[in-house]
Symmetry: C2
Subunit: 151 residues, 2 copies
């Protein structure tokens, strides 16, 4: 969709946006995650144009985020998350956490997450992979890495 090609930028944020950087893709992934795996289910739930849904699904399959698999001898297909796609859902949980905090208002969060390990209704917290302490935007320095050149 975007006219500008983000995938060529030397920035992992821009490259990720090339995969899910328009508003329907994250919602498609969310729906697939919660068990809406078929074209018509997705179309009905999201209210998205069939044309655009086709484009999004093809793009997500091309990117290796979803897998298209037949579930019948008739030409019927369903979409499931790959490992790459499942890890994108982590991003959606963080997104949902921000929306819960800043946008949900009086009514409270529309969806809750129960953590298997402890059984509690909970949310995600960002921690350093190295020391395990809290790690947020203000807790880091940004440095150039090995893949910094555009070529």
């Amino acid at each position: 969709m975007q006219r500008t090609d983000f995938s060529a930028m030397a920035c992992s944020i821009a490259r990720t946006l090339d995969v899910i950087g328009e508003p329907w893709s994250p919602l498609v992934l969310r729906d697939v995650w919660v068990g809406l795996n078929r074209f018509d289910q997705l179309q009905a739930d999201l209210g998205i144009s069939r044309k655009v849904l086709t484009e999004r699904l093809n793009h997500l399959v091309d990117q290796g985020v979803l897998e298209r698999r037949p579930y019948d001898r008739r030409p019927r297909y369903e979409y499931v998350l790959t490992e790459k796609g499942t890890e994108l859902v982590d991003l959606l949980m963080v997104m949902a956490g921000w929306g819960d905090k800043w946008l949900a208002g009086e009514a409270g969060p529309p969806v809750l997450y129960r953590h298997h390990a402890c059984g509690e209704i909970s949310g995600v917290d960002l921690r350093c992979t190295h020391c395990g302490e809290s790690m947020h935007a203000n807790d880091v320095d940004v440095l150039p890495g090995p893949g910094v050149t555009t070529s």
Copy 2:
């Protein structure tokens, strides 16, 4: 930009997408975060159309994610992250982590993060706010919450 109004959906992901759900906004936030605070700096760094940049900045200010403040007696302004915006940058770090893992390829990540607390080059890890254990997409049940109705 989007013709569909995501803000009305009873979904914190959709609502968040109404704030940063098109590809330029996250990149604008990233740039502001690393110290590119002025209109022409952003325009030059991103290569974005001036018209679109104006729209994005206004939207982000309206949403309370950025603050527009004068820095001169002449009509000169710079954009800074609010607390709400800074917490969105957390989301960008998760996004960058996914891109680093799945899209960076041979060259490696273009940007590294050094954690103030431990001084190490590191990344973010998602953990349960309740028990502190790892918490990813496959580690949770999704349940309806109090704000589930659309009204």
